[in-house]
Symmetry: C2
Subunit: 207 residues, 2 copies
DNA sequence: CAGCCATCCCCCAATTTGCGGTATTTTAAC
DNA sequence: GTTAAAATACCGCAAATTGGGGGATGGCTG
């Protein structure tokens, strides 16, 4: 069965370049190419692509919001983001919107085809640097000033639990939780749950 | 400059296999091979590896906790997890512990070397399936019953903000926030912040 | 027009929170 | 072997938060 592919890219030259690559690869069928998400969305159901090559910086609806809308219509459709910039914020927002991979534009013809194949196989193709950013987003700093217990308590707070609930879950007294919180506030130099979570979150001090 | 590599793997055969690969590759220097994290930790400062090949399932301190401890001693050291199982929970806990990549054991000699090189270059080598799992962990379900505004309010809750603070940040009245919360509780059939966050989080309904 | 959404207001009682103390035990470090 | 940090626990207090109940308005959409 041929895989149907749609291209959304406002630069005509690049778009036609991709189109040519798809056209010349057996097994892939170009089912649409558009300069804006608006156009693509209108024909999305007729085109019914298995995969969309999506540019990030588009006039009107950008690639991130476009991804969100396409996935809302057909969650099975894979959206592969293709971009020149490796902007960390855009990477994460794209992934949250449902992107299935994130690759940089300068990759050569073979790379594009390989990445498409990888995405269709159920993989998540990413450039070296992107993969690194994604992995690092998970990492917590190894130099947290908070003790293990304090981190556990703060984690409870981030889950919206009350002191009493945290105490129950950790098998300690509510008063102990209060003491831990006090110490956390002192160490982070804050005086509210929201501020503590903000500081600890920014510095990746949460377990 | 040669790159120093340590292997931690309890299966002697596999360990020696890796050791042979490293030894026979120019540019890499095997600076230690151990069957447990305990042993590796003792010699870690003398060995001073640039990269550690780490098995997950180890007797005593497992690979995840081992990663955490190694990174605590030398955050610049890259830990590459090598495993047979692609257990999603272990993947994430490894990444949180500071792992720089996560690859499956069946990969052939060339793959191992390529993954090591990629990690040392600043990449984050991952098997196809692992990458997919990681990317999917970011994704939110496209079928949340919560309206956009309700999701924003719930996000504020997850950040530990009070209703008043959320109201300030969203430029609406505290009473409106309360109404949104009430509606969220009804939709999710819960009656507390913690439960709402748990349900919404599990189902990936949080923006 | 019915339903959903977003916005705002009131009342009330129970709980939570943040801050001030103090104190014991264990573990780790020097 | 002293010192320090961490984990545990308790008390009191005043302000704020929370959850539940009710009602209201306007906008948009099918």
């Amino acid at each position: 069965m041929e895989k149907r592919i749609t291209i959304i890219e406002d630069n005509g030259k690049i778009r036609e370049g991709f189109a040519a690559i798809i056209d010349n690869t057996p097994g892939y069928l170009l089912c649409g190419q558009y300069g804006t998400c608006e156009e693509a969305l209108i024909s999305f159901n007729q085109d019914n692509p298995d995969l969309v090559l999506m540019d990030i910086d588009l006039p009107g609806i950008d690639g991130i919001e476009g991804t969100r809308r396409l996935k809302k219509i057909n969650p099975a459709c894979i959206v592969l983001i293709i971009t020149v910039l490796e902007d960390s914020d855009k990477v994460f927002r794209s992934l949250c919107a449902g992107a299935g991979g994130y690759i940089v534009k300068n990759t050569d013809t073979d790379d594009i085809i390989r990445n498409i194949a990888e995405a269709l196989e159920g993989g998540a193709p990413m450039s070296l640097h992107i993969a690194k950013m994604v992995v690092q987003s998970f990492r917590q700093s190894p130099d947290s000033p908070l003790s293990d217990r304090e981190q556990e308590v703060l984690k409870g707070i981030s889950e919206g639990k009350s002191y009493s609930k945290i105490a129950l879950d950790l098998f300690i007294s509510k008063e102990t939780v209060r003491t831990h919180i006090k110490n956390v506030y002192q160490k982070l130099e804050v005086n509210s749950k929201a501020d503590a979570l903000k500081v600890a979150g920014d510095k990746k001090w949460l377990s």
